[in-house]
Symmetry: D2
Subunit: 326 residues, 4 copies
C-alpha cells in the first residue's frame, strides 16, 4: 500500500532552501515503500484510515500538545479514537491530549523541552530538523514556536504511524509545515540549509559519533544551531565509557563520553560556541510505565539497591544537552 | 551556473499523477547541471537574464503563438529583444510572434499542427507529453488547446534556451503548466500517466524503434493516445528502408518503414486503433532557410534535378502522422 | 549452492587478452548465484555430482563430438549415465556420443557445422566466442579445430547443465580452454579481444538488431571475424518482415530481414567483406523430435498442407549464414 | 598508462579462498587506473621500467630484507639503481639491502618486527593480509616466515612504486605470493578468509575505530589472528584521548585509547584472547631522518625540552601491539 503522505512535503520544499533534498528523497521513499515496509504497515494504515474526522475547537502547541477538547466529540467517538490509538502502543514520547484523551507516554518529554527551550535560539521562521525525532512530540513543540518548517527523521515505522495519527487531528494550515520522514541520518544529503538541528537521544547509538557529528553539521547552514542531547558520564577530557552488550538493558549503545570529551569531539568537527546547557540524571518519574506503555521502563533497568547504577552496574543514565553553532 | 527553472515543475507535479517522476528527475537534472552543460550554457543564461520584462497586452496560443503586440514596447526595446533572440539562432520550429517581432523559423510548424490537430482527441484538461519537442512550438499550441499540463522532453540545450526565452514573455498563470525538460526519452521512468503523448520527428533517429515505441507506450495511461510522426517510405508490410551514413544530409537516421510496416510494429508493441491520419512529402515552402535560420535547408538536401529524391538518391522526405491508443 | 565452475575461467583469462572481463564477470556470476538461480538448479547440480568418473579411451571433436567408447564402461554404468543425462532433457543441439550412448538431439547441429565450417577462417589458436551457444555443441567442434579458447555465452541454465555434463567426461587438458558462461550478450563488456565471434540463432530474438550487431562487433579485435546465422526472408534491400506474437510457434521473434537488408544493416554498423555463405530452409530431417527431445518440433510448427509455410501462414524458416570482418 | 601488475594476483587467487575478491577488485583497480592515478604515476612507471635486470646471488627475508649482493653487479649499475630508487624518496619503512645498496629508511621497521614476531602464530602456509602496509617492508618479512600468500593494502601510490621496485629484484617463485594492492580497507569485501591480519599504524587515523575493527574482523576466517598496532595513552578502561588538528605534527589523528579501553572496544566487536604483547614509546633512534628520507622526523615533532611530550604538548607517541583471535 503506497502512501502519499510525503508528496505534500515534496511540494513544500520544491522552491525552498531544502529543494536539493528532492535529488534523493523521493527515490529513497519509493525504495522504502517497495522493499522495507514493516509487516504490520498495511494494517496500521488501515487503522489510520479509520480515525474519524473531528473539528477541534482548540489547538495548543505552545505549552503542551493538544488537539481539540472533550466537548468537540461524543463519548462513543472518544472511545473509538482511544481504541484505535492504543493499537499503536507502545507510546514512548509525549504526552499528547486529544479531545480529552490523555496519551500518557512513557516519557515526560515536556519536561525535557522545558529544560532545553530556554537555551536555544528562537525557532520563529526557521527551518528545523529533528534527527531521531521518535513519534514527533518535540516537533509539535517546535511548530508551536512558529518554526517555518519542522522536519523529523526517524526510520521507525511505528513512530511514523503515531505521528500521522496526531497529524490527522491538526486542521491548521501549519500542518503543511510539519513532516516526519522515515529515513536515517545516514540517508540525508548534505543540505547545509537548516537553521536549527536537534538530535536528542541518538549519538550514543552510533558506532561512529564523529561521523554522526559531521552528518549533523552538514545539515546546518553557516551560522545554524545544533542542539545535541546524549548520554554522558562524569569525567574529564579523556573520559569515554563504552558499555558491554547492554546498557540499562538497551542494546546498541556505544560511546558515552564526558561532556568535556564530547566538547573536544565537537570542536574537532568544527562546531563553535559549544555550551553544556543541561545535565540531568533521568528520574523514574520522567521515564516510567503508563497505560500507554505497559512494558518495562527505567525502574526495571536500574539496580534495585542503588538507583545510581544500571542493572549491569554501570553509572545510571545521565543526559547532557549541548548547544553549538556552525 | 545552476538554474532553478525546474523547481516549479517539481512543485506542480508533487501531487499530480506525474509525482513518481520525482523519484528520478531531480537527480538527473542535478547530474546534468554538474556534468553535461553545453560550453555556451552560462553565456546563454546571461542573455536570457537580459531579456526585458514586458507587459503583453495580448496573448494568442489558439491559432498562432504570439506574446504581446508591437504597441506594448518601444522601438528600442524591440530591437534589443530581437538582438538577444537572434543569438539563440538557428531557430528551427515556429513561427513565433513577440511584440511585433516575427521569428520566422526554418519550419512552418503551424502547418504541421493544422494537419495533425483535426485527428486527435481534444487536449482539454489532459496531461500531455511531447517527446523530442525541440524549442517547444507545438507545446504552446497544446497549451492553447487548454491542456492541464504540457511537458516537453528534449536534450538539446539550445532548444531549452529558446523555450525559456518564450516562456519569459508569458505572464499568464498557465505558464506554470508548460515545462521543457532537458532529458532524453530513455531517461523517462515508466510513468503510465499521460493522457496524450506526441513524438514527432524522433523515431527515425532511434537505433531501436521497437524499444522507442515501448518507451512511448510506458508514458501513457491506459486509454491514452499517441501521436507519432516519422519519416516513412512507400511500400507494404515488409518494406523498411535504412539509408547509409546520411539521409538528406542528416546523420543518425536509421529505420524508415512504410506506414504498413510501422503499423505492424505498433500492433506488436500493443497499440490499438492505429490510424495513419496524414502523409505528406515535405515541401521546400514548409522547410526553408530564413532570417532566423540562415544555414542550409531542405532545398539543399534534395537532388536539384529531381525534388523527389534526396541528394544521396534516396526517396525524398515523406512524413506520416499516426494516431493510436494504448 | 554456489558452484565454482567459473573460477578456472577466471584463472585462464587473468593474463590473457580477455583479462578485462574480470572487471565485471565475477560480480555478475556472484549476483546470478544469489538472485537468479533456476528452481531446479540445486537438483541439477546434485545430478551432475552423481555422474561417474570414467576413463575415455578415445576422444573425438574433429568430425563429431564423442567422449569415450562403449568398451570403457560396463553396462550398468552406461544405464546409470543415460538415466542421469535424460533428466536434463530436452536436449536440443547435438548429437553427442558418450561411451556408446548416442544423445540424439532435436537438431542435427553437425549438419549446420558442415555448412558453416568451409567458409570461415581457421580457428587454430584463436580466441572464439559463441553468443547464444545453447548447450555448446558447436563449441566442442570449435575446440576440435584447435581454438586457443572457446567461450560460450547463454543465460539458459539447463543448457549450462548439459554443457557441464559433457565437460565432465572430457579428461583432456583442453578442458581448461572451453567455458560456458550463463550471461546474456547485453552483459558482455566491450572486450575487443576475440578473433572469431559466432552468433547463430539469436538475432531474430532481439528487439534491436542494430544494437545486437554493435554488441557483437565490440567483442571482436580489429580484423576479427563474425559468423552470423539468423532467420531471413526472401526480398531486396528494403525487405524486413516482422511476424505477430508467434512465428512457427516461437514467441519473441522480431525482425526477419532479407539477406540484402541484413547486409545493409551490417555495413551501417561497420562490418566489412560481408558475405552470405549459406542459405538453407530448415528441413524436418534436420530439426525433429527424438528420444532425447520428445516434445513438438518443426513438423508441428509448419502448415501441414504446405511445408513452405509456418502454421501461422508465414514463410517457413529460412536461415542464412553471413561472414564478415571488423 | 595501464599497468598489469595485478593480473598475476587475480590468477593466483582465482582458485583460492580469496577468490571472492574478484567480485570487486578488478573493477576497483580499473576505476583506479582511469580516475585516481597520481600526477607522477606515469613518470614513476617509466623509472621502474629503467631498473636493470639483475641476478641476485643471495636472497634473505628471514632476518632482514636483502636481494642480491654487491658482487652481483658492477659499480656503474649500482649507482644507476641507487639513482633510480632515490627518485622514489621519501623511503619511510625499511631498511632494505639491494646488491650492497643500503636503503636506510626513516623507520627501523625491523625493530618493530623483532618485538612483534615472538608473540604471533607462525605464518607458515597462511594467507596473510597487511592493512596499511606502506611500502611493504613487513610483508617481505612475512613472506620470509613462509606465508602462503602475503597481500598488502595501502592506497599510497608512492608506496606501491617502492614495493614494485623491490619486487623487481626478487627472482624467486615466491614473488607470485606477495602483492600490494592500492586500495583502502573500506574497499575490501568481507572475505572471511585470511589466517592472519596485520594492521599497524592505521587505527588512530580512522574516524571510526569500531567500524575499522569490524572491517579487520571481516577479513579473518573463524579462528584467525589479528595483530593490531596503534598509538595509545596511559589510562584505564574509560581513558580515550583525542588531540586537536595535529598530533606530533600529523593531521588526521583521531582516537588514542588506553590499551584497557581498546581492549573493551575489541571485545565489543567480538575479538577473543585479546593480549597486549608490546608497549613501546618510540625512540628517536627508531624513527629519524636519513639519506633516504631527508625531511623532518620524530625529533622535530617532540617538545625539545621534554621528549615525553609532542610539540603540541600531548603525551609522546606510545605504541601498543595487541594480538587477538576471531
Amino acid at each position: 500500500m503506497a502512501v502519499t503522505w510525503f508528496n505534500d512535503f515534496y511540494k513544500q520544499i520544491a522552491d525552498s532552501p531544502l529543494s536539493h533534498w528532492l535529488e534523493v528523497l523521493p527515490a529513497q521513499i519509493a525504495h522504502w515503500q517497495k522493499e522495507q515496509l514493516h509487516g504490520d504497515f498495511n494494517k496500521w494504515v488501515k487503522l489510520l484510515d479509520k480515525l474519524p474526522k473531528t473539528q477541534p475547537s482548540k489547538i495548543e502547541l505552545k505549552n503542551k500538545v493538544e488537539f481539540g477538547q472533550v466537548e468537540d466529540i461524543n463519548d462513543y467517538t472518544q472511545k473509538h479514537i482511544t481504541g484505535l490509538l492504543k493499537q499503536f502502543a507502545p507510546w514512548r514520547k509525549g504526552p499528547f491530549d486529544l479531545h480529552g484523551i490523555h496519551i500518557d507516554t512513557e516519557w515526560r518529554s515536556d519536561w525535557k523541552w522545558d529544560r532545553v527551550k530556554p537555551h536555544i535560539h528562537s525557532l520563529k521562521d526557521r527551518y528545523v530538523l529533528d534527527v531521531g525525532c521518535g513519534s514527533g512530540y518535540h516537533m509539535w513543540r517546535m511548530l508551536g514556536e512558529d518554526a517555518k518548517m519542522v522536519v523529523g527523521a526517524d526510520p521507525s515505522q511505528l513512530f511514523l504511524m503515531q505521528f500521522q495519527a496526531l497529524k490527522h487531528f491538526n486542521p491548521s494550515p501549519n500542518n503543511h509545515n510539519i513532516h516526519l520522514l522515515p529515513v536515517g541520518v545516514e540517508q540525508l544529503p548534505e543540505l547545509k540549509a537548516f537553521d536549527t538541528v536537534f538530535s536528542m537521544g541518538v549519538l550514543y547509538h552510533r558506532r561512529s559519533p564523529i561521523d554522526f557529528l559531521y552528518q549533523l553539521k552538514s545539515q546546518l547552514r553557516k551560522g545554524g544551531e545544533l542542539i545535541l542531547e546524549t548520554l554522558v558520564v562524569e569525567g574529564d577530557e579523556t573520559t569515554v565509557f563504552m558499555p558491554g552488550e547492554r546498557y540499562a538493558q538497551m542494546r546498541n549503545v556505544w560511546y558515552l563520553p564526558s561532556t568535556a570529551a564530547l566538547t573536544v569531539w565537537m570542536q574537532r568537527v568544527g562546531f563553535k560556541n559549544i555550551k553544556v546547557v543541561d545535565l540531568d540524571q533521568t528520574s523514574i518519574e520522567e521515564q516510567r510505565a503508563t497505560d500507554w506503555m505497559d512494558g518495562q521502563s527505567l525502574v526495571d533497568f536500574l539496580d534495585p539497591e542503588d538507583n545510581n547504577k544500571t542493572i549491569e552496574g554501570y553509572p545510571a543514565p545521565l543526559r547532557a544537552v549541548i548547544v553549538a553553532q556552525v
